[in-house]
Point group: C2
Chain length 185, copies 2
């Protein structure tokens, strides 16, 4: 799996990747240490500012790194990284340097200090926008401040976790533009 | 499209349908009126209680019905209902009786007064659990109190909205159980 060459991508259009609910890799950095966690529970909450709600619980070693640095990167892997995605979820950043362990390439971000994962299809640089719901719901509200995606394919083969070790791979594209009232697009 | 025969489904396992981010139809009832809205922004927030976070904004006619009745049903449509899903989003419950207009079958719930949509693959009866984030984020926290799904197929051909009239249809299943540490399943 080679690093993927990317372009700037409009932050208010990240729903293209996030809305269909893919498993993502969240990278973070704090005090000279970097880490990666898998994340399956997230939702788009606003276009502009570009807000993403994320469930990050106490057992995630990344949680304190994200809370303290107030930054992270949401990296969107494709099916060829599926085994790595599972293995990243199997181990803890308290014991393993995951970039080294899994041969992933850390790339510097433009807006945040957390590293981007070059092998992932898209990278969303995020700042923590609201932590008011963390205590009750483990819900972090992130603002995507910079996004990177390759020119093609437009829609990657993302993987979507269904629990119990079962994933769904993104399937056929279905263009229903013709049925939409123009103002609903 | 015929109504689908269903069985009880464990509420703490609804991630099977919700986590991969499908477009859903939310049905509600208030003062003798029933309505249906399309919804694309939602996330699993907890297994037990079975919590789902949902973005329902002020322009949705259903919002006040859900807020007042404190109930709704999340219905999960499959690809054969794709055109109907778009058309439901094109019109407002203030002008149209959507069950009649789209020939959908309302079925009585067991735990809520909002009607289930028989033609949808799965039906999740929900109570509103928390409205504290509605004012700031249009975020309703729902608790799934009863779920109905057919015995097969185990994984339906859900549709996932990417914006701009483009959907992704649920694709191949990928079993990666063998890579998981048992306690991570």
């Amino acid at each position: 799996m080679k690093p993927i060459r990317k372009q700037d991508f409009p932050v208010d259009q990240v729903r293209r990747f996030m809305e269909p609910g893919p498993i993502v890799l969240v990278s973070s950095a704090w005090k000279g240490e970097a880490n990666i966690m898998t994340m399956g529970w997230h939702m788009v909450m606003e276009f502009s500012p570009s807000l993403i709600g994320c469930y990050i619980w106490e057992q995630n070693y990344s949680r304190e790194m994200i809370r303290r640095s107030r930054e992270c990167v949401i990296n969107i892997p494709t099916v060829d990284l599926a085994k790595t995605v599972v293995e990243i979820g199997n181990c803890s950043g308290s014991e393993v340097d995951k970039f080294t362990q899994f041969g992933l390439t850390a790339v510097a971000g433009e807006m945040v200090k957390a590293p981007l994962i070059a092998e992932c299809f898209a990278n969303l640089e995020c700042r923590v926008a609201d932590t008011a719901m963390v205590r009750k719901y483990n819900l972090f509200v992130l603002e995507v401040v910079k996004a990177h995606a390759p020119k093609s394919p437009k829609y990657p083969k993302t993987i979507h976790y269904r629990g119990d070790g079962q994933f769904m791979v993104a399937g056929d594209a279905l263009n229903l533009r013709r049925y939409f009232r123009p103002e609903m697009l």
